[in-house]
């Protein structure tokens, strides 16, 4: 479904203000944490205090008799298992504890204090089991297995190789890499990188209010994925998915954290057991310790490059820590092909991504997921390549960036020259800028320009548009407003543009799985694209029906009519015709109320046969490119990095609401600055996350940031509605890469690890940082695979 030339550009493209701002500014918006129902109970979860152990005894009888307690639930109440690719994750620990913080039991009581008192009365005894806390531990030859029964799990997607502590392995092989590396005319460049975990710190914690009425669960929750909550809750509880209704109030920040099931099933079980509504809200400490973080990762890249700058061969190993359960990292093994394997035209290539089990809190999705660290690694490696062959890093990039007709890592053919012109655009921006002041203050100065490749996570979406007789339209989808504004701005703009209405006259229904059709969720840059395409299609159906009725009323052919400014008129004759409300009212009386439905899913871009194994997406339907430029100053006495300027050229396809996109870019870049410079989650030797609150986990403050200079690159090909691409996810993609390359240029040392905290930078300046060594990544690429790459087999 693509745009129709008749759609009014004027009303689809505008800096339309968001309608939810005034109430958010007055404290009136009721997020999930603000919902208090009559008779509501308060719930709390008993969590394991060790990273690995066997539950020797669990007795809830005393807790159940504590004052105010209305229900206690345990693993016995949740028989199912969930996961992505493999069903490896129960709701409660069953016999075995796999991470510090894993749920053991949940209690609902009249007050939260009573619930906590009752948790303390649960009699639980845990016998310690061997622990693997790091990927190096997990990959050791005699490592204890986090999931000794991994062979028995239900496989939900065939093709991924698994074994021992390798939850999932995905590979890409295109061309003869050995031959490329054996050429006599190439330099071989070998780089290793390591990054830590990042916490989203969404301001609204995971929160849910559940009730159980007429044999069905009603879950009100702070999520990005209402249909995932519906289906996964049902699977864990062993009930039909149709018995679960999910509605979503405004969400107080997601960033990918809420792209998976969280605490919803606990509240659902307790509501069914007690017959009362149950409120369950994670404390900030629970949010910090069990976050579904952006995963820590370890990366090795080797490239064979000719002296005139052709990349004839590339190979890489990417280790991604999934924590105790596979979750999102299983899927994200796919993305290495499109991020680390992106940006540049490659001769031969082979990549392996391995999701590794450890006895740590499960990781999850975070804005531009694995792209952020793979782009950091790729761009730093690219600078090392350019340095080795003595080529200017920008000239090297310009020579090699993906262009029209180039092959991606998986053999997909890219369409259009996008990154090249975007680099030109960045040159213009940089040249026009004033030189930052004060380069003689003793600090070291550096700059870098880096590129990035990301994608839109398309997939199924549904929409209904109901035309009301008063001339307004109601848009019904499962889309959630998480803060990005897509549901408040782009979607009503698309419907309004199609129907000639003001976006103010498009009512947007909040997500309700009983009211709207299936949707993958709000994330992956897909809201404007997938929900937008479904909404556009639904609005087109309404438009066609209205024009048919209007054609009789106005006595003109439907193809001669236009819809604009709330009227249906004969083209070229402003003021002719009728009000849309008149036509809608006539239609309602004559043939019944008018509505339209729309649906969308991905186009299924092909990869080259035989290239990929264990992938969830073989090629990307909508690539999204970004060019970032950063200038830094490094204090040689303290190791402090100051970002002096930041510039972004972002491929947006078409900007429906430029001002909203600018807001996403400023916000995404600042989240990336936090990741690059100071945000890091670490795990103590006891297996517990060390950062348990805002005091120990530092996010960027107003004093840390700079205004980002922004240029939106429009016109790149896209199957998105009206030529759009997702614009909210990608701004964080290249930030760590840009900062790291700039700091490396400033201090003249390779940057191999993030974040660049002052102590770490100081160690580099003083040559005291130990060399990064990743002995658990085998020297020969093929020795990192559980079995040789092949694309036909199952486990």
């Amino acid at each position: 479904m693509t745009g129709d030339a008749k759609v009014s550009d004027a009303s689809a493209t505008m800096n339309f203000r968001r309608r939810d701002a005034a109430d958010k500014l007055r404290g009136r918006t009721r997020y999930t944490i603000d919902r208090y129902l009559p008779g509501m109970l308060h719930a709390a979860i008993l969590r394991a205090g060790v990273p690995s152990g066997r539950i020797a005894r669990l007795d809830i009888t005393k807790a159940a008799r504590m004052p105010g307690v209305r229900a206690v639930v345990t693993a016995a109440d949740a028989p199912g298992m969930i996961g992505i690719g493999i069903a490896d994750h129960p709701l409660f620990a069953r016999d075995v504890i796999r991470y510090d913080g894993e749920p053991i039991a949940a209690i609902a009581a009249d007050t939260l204090m009573q619930a906590h008192a009752a948790l303390a009365a649960i009699d639980v005894e845990i016998e310690p089991l061997p622990v693997v806390l790091t990927m190096a531990d997990a990959l050791a030859p005699d490592a204890p297995l986090v999931h000794p029964d991994w062979r028995n799990y239900e496989v939900l997607l065939e093709g991924g190789v698994r074994g021992g502590n390798i939850a999932w392995e995905a590979t890409v092989v295109r061309g003869d890499v050995d031959a490329a590396f054996a050429r006599s005319d190439v330099e071989i460049i070998d780089s290793s990188f390591r990054v830590g975990r990042q916490n989203h710190v969404a301001f609204e914690p995971r929160a849910v209010v559940a009730s159980y009425e007429d044999g069905r669960f009603h879950i009100e929750t702070s999520t990005q994925v209402p249909w995932t909550i519906r289906n996964a809750t049902a699977r864990l509880l062993g009930v039909p998915a149709s018995r679960v209704r999910v509605t979503v109030p405004p969400v107080g920040g997601g960033f990918g954290l809420k792209f998976d099931l969280a605490i919803e099933p606990f509240a659902a079980l307790l509501a069914r057991a007690s017959g009362r509504p149950v409120r369950l809200v994670n404390s900030r400490e629970e949010e910090m310790l069990t976050c579904l973080f952006r995963e820590n990762a370890e990366i090795r890249i080797r490239s064979a490059v000719t002296r005139d700058g052709e990349i004839v061969g590339r190979e890489a190993v990417v280790l991604m820590d999934c924590g105790a359960y596979g979750g999102e990292q299983i899927f994200l093994t796919t993305m290495t092909a499109h991020t680390l394997g992106g940006n540049y035209s490659l001769g031969a290539v082979r990549l392996v991504s391995r999701a590794v089990y450890t006895n740590t809190a499960p990781n999850g999705a975070f804005r531009a997921c694995n792209g952020v660290y793979n782009t950091f690694a790729l761009e730093r490696h690219t600078d090392e390549v350019a340095a080795r062959i003595g080529m200017d890093p920008l000239a090297f990039r310009r020579r090699n960036v993906l262009g029209d007709g180039d092959l991606g890592a998986t053999g997909q053919v890219f369409e259009g020259d996008v990154l090249g012109p975007m680099l030109d655009r960045m040159d213009t921006m940089r040249d026009a800028a004033a030189t930052p002041p004060g380069c003689d203050d003793g600090r070291l100065y550096g700059r870098a320009t880096v590129v990035g490749t990301w994608f839109v996570f398309v997939g199924p979406s549904a929409a209904t548009v109901n035309m009301n007789a008063d001339g307004t339209a109601t848009l019904v989808t499962s889309g959630v407003e998480i803060g990005s504004g897509s549901m408040m701005q782009a979607l009503p703009q698309i419907v309004a543009g199609t129907l000639g209405l003001s976006p103010h006259d498009v009512i947007v229904r909040a997500a309700d799985t009983d009211a709207a059709g299936y949707d993958v969720g709000v994330g992956g840059g897909r809201t404007t694209v997938s929900l937008g395409a479904a909404s556009l299609s639904a609005a087109h159906e309404v438009r066609t029906k209205l024009l048919k009725v209007a054609s009789e009323m106005i006595e003109a052919a439907a193809e001669d009519l236009v819809m604009r400014s709330g009227r249906i008129e004969i083209a070229g004759a402003p003021g002719s015709g009728r009000l849309i409300s008149e036509v809608a009212a006539r239609a309602q009386a004559q043939i019944g109320p008018i509505s339209g439905t729309g649906a969308f899913t991905g186009a299924g871009m092909p990869a080259m046969p035989g290239c990929v194994a264990g992938h969830f997406i073989d090629a990307i339907d909508i690539p999204v490119f970004a060019v970032h430029d950063c200038e830094v100053a490094v204090d040689t006495e303290t190791g402090h990095v100051e970002v002096l300027s930041y510039r972004v050229v972002q491929d947006v396809g078409r900007a429906l609401n430029p001002r909203a996109i600018h807001g996403q870019i400023q916000g995404g870049v600042v989240q990336g600055l936090g990741y690059a410079l100071h945000e890091e989650v670490t795990i103590g030797s006891n297996g517990r996350v060390r950062q348990n609150g805002f005091e120990t986990y530092r996010v960027p403050l107003a004093l840390d940031v700079v205004p980002v200079e922004i240029n939106l690159y429009e016109g790149a090909p896209s199957i998105g509605p009206l030529g759009t691409k997702g614009a909210g996810e990608v701004p964080i993609l290249n930030v760590a890469a840009a900062v790291a390359c700039a700091v490396a240029n400033a201090i003249g040392k390779p940057i191999l690890e993030l974040p660049l905290t002052p102590p770490r930078v100081l160690e580099l300046l003083l040559d005291q940082r130990p060399t990064l060594s990743l002995p658990h990544i085998a020297e020969a690429w093929t020795n990192n695979l559980l079995r040789p790459h092949k694309t036909d087999g199952s486990n």
């Binding site: 203000r17 958010k24 500014l25 007055r26 301001f203 400023q666 916000g667 609150g693």
Partner: protein
């Protein structure tokens, strides 16, 4: 025996334990859910209220200590359900994203606007040190504050 609190000009009584954080009394007893208990450590500023005119994190203040004070929450900043100058500027600048931090931002910036009409860009950035925003990257908020300062 209860607590007597003056909130947005209303005289209210609470039966809460005197050491209950003020934010919980406001939200759970008085249904003023604008203040958000995000970190409960006094770092994020999302629960900021004015106590006798001074921005104060309501998560760290025992409710009993607020007795006899003039407590003003984000719900009480604008008259007749309108927007005060900083709220209007934040709306005009399209600054709001998820919105969770904004009740606290509005309280802090309302105070800045009334006490430091000559504040500069750097003054505003410094004044926001106790208010964290995870969505916006702050720039629009700073712009809005400058706009409000210029137009009031």
């Amino acid at each position: 025996m209860g607590l007597s609190l003056t909130v947005n000009g209303d005289h209210l009584t609470s039966t809460a334990d005197p050491i209950t954080p003020l934010v919980d009394v406001l939200r759970e007893e008085f249904h003023l859910t604008g203040a958000k208990p995000v970190c409960r450590e006094g770092f994020c500023g999302a629960c900021m209220v004015l106590i006798d005119g001074n921005p104060t994190p309501s998560c760290l203040m025992p409710a009993a200590l607020a007795e006899g004070c003039d407590i003003r929450t984000v719900e009480g900043l604008a008259v007749n359900g309108g927007l005060n100058p900083i709220q209007a500027a934040l709306e005009a600048c399209d600054a709001v994203q998820c919105g969770m931090c904004f009740p606290g931002m509005v309280v802090s910036l309302t105070h800045l606007l009334t006490t430091r009409p000559g504040a500069t860009r750097d003054d505003i950035r410094a004044a926001l040190t106790g208010n964290i925003c995870r969505c916006t990257g702050y720039e629009r908020i700073i712009e809005a504050a400058l706009l409000a300062l210029a137009t009031t």
